[in-house]
Symmetry: C2
Amino acid sequence: MPPASPSSGDQVQSVTRALDLLQALNRQKIASIKQLHDTTGLPKPTIVRLLKTLIAKGYVANDPRQGGYSVTSLVRALSCGFHGDPLVVEAGRAWAIDLTRRFKWPAAIAVLDENAMTVRFSTIPESPISPFHGTVGLRLSLVSRSLGRAYLAFCPQAERNILLQMLSASKDREDAAARRPAALLRALQAIRSQGFAERDPGVEPKSSSTLGVPVMDGDRVVATLGLTYFTSAMKRAQAVDLYVPHLRSAADNISRSISRLGS
Amino acid sequence: MPPASPSSGDQVQSVTRALDLLQALNRQKIASIKQLHDTTGLPKPTIVRLLKTLIAKGYVANDPRQGGYSVTSLVRALSCGFHGDPLVVEAGRAWAIDLTRRFKWPAAIAVLDENAMTVRFSTIPESPISPFHGTVGLRLSLVSRSLGRAYLAFCPQAERNILLQMLSASKDREDAAARRPAALLRALQAIRSQGFAERDPGVEPKSSSTLGVPVMDGDRVVATLGLTYFTSAMKRAQAVDLYVPHLRSAADNISRSISRLGS
DNA sequence: CTGCCTGTTTCGCATTGTGAAACGCAGGCA
DNA sequence: TGCCTGCGTTTCACAATGCGAAACAGGCAG
């Protein structure tokens, strides 16, 4: 009787394992029992039992023509109870517009969607052609883009671990940095201490740069807010000094307007 | 020592319960322990233990300012391993175009997303103004629209139950029919036996109508394919006789092109 | 202060989940 | 053809694991 693993207060073992299985299934899009056994380390009979449960609930299917098991679309349905989202976007819209009015740069608000940040609203100043990929719906890498890194830096550790694990299996070139966790974690630590994110130095083009800050609901990141500026128009240090405080206060305002106990 | 509930082969109790909890949390966007106790019937200490586990894994948060617990955005990440989706849409695109070429009516392919069918591709014949809400991204009610009903009718029962449970909590007027399960289930049974779906008779406007068929991957629905016609241009019976066979064969072709063990 | 209601902790019990081992089956190889 | 290897499945005896009644704690209202 080991005194339980160091940090396992009183959780339910089988549930933890079932969730691990789901995660594993999610990374490998389709997996056999053997593969699951190898990646999770769980004994095969246990895996079978857990899978049976997940299948009975409809979250996993014994995918066609005996290829193996995989996550079903029903798992998607599980996320529709996550709210805050509409509220955040609504409030974010107003403050993004405000930032753009004041500084004449594009601003955007993005939320986590599956394994990337999705832009839910973005502004483009009347000015020239936009350096900002301003399309709503655009998916930004969690590891390389400012809006993604701000999220990763400020989300709870358990979540970060899971996301990184998923991303390291991704083929997306932009997410490749997730495979060098040490460097990435150091970068995230820096972001955390300075309070805002910039894109991964490796990403092109460098003619523009985005500053990203987290939008918190209580102690939880629910979105990230960003402001993009031309690097030719302004030096980095100057931009940071000038814009970051305003970004922070905008993010705070958004937080305030979505807090449930208003007043 | 009850001989276990009638149909529980060998599943893991705690996992089942944990998933029930997630579902409950998903319906009520935010819930206290008491509420969860009332809706799920689980004893409070059990709920606490399960919640602790879910929280440790990051799927649930003790939402801010002590309002209660709720599902986090991380649950969204869990669905990104569900594939088939890109393949289906790709293949669906080709066959939707084909249908439109032949019959000069709009066609569409949709997949489940959270609690509605989302149109992933749709065609609009050059002809007049389209009766079809052809926007990609449009979300169609699972209970009232043809593309939704086709999905509900052919998905596994466990999944149907969960979806209906979620929908009956929805405020969307179109989903209200989910609150009369008896009538709805009868309608779904009919859809199942005839092999295609039509919209809920109550939905306006009636100037056009869509025929929807399921796209299967093995024994699992992965999408639905629809063809919309003007009711003024063609009688229902005639349209059914003429179009349904072609819809079916298009759906079969899509199925074939996504089956993993090609030849 | 008192009563009520909700969340948390405790703790002995047996139900529940566990996993080594044995089995069955299919496909590969000689 | 028969042997073998590798994967999925089933079995079963054991005890660890999860269970939940009951007791406890804290907040809020009257």
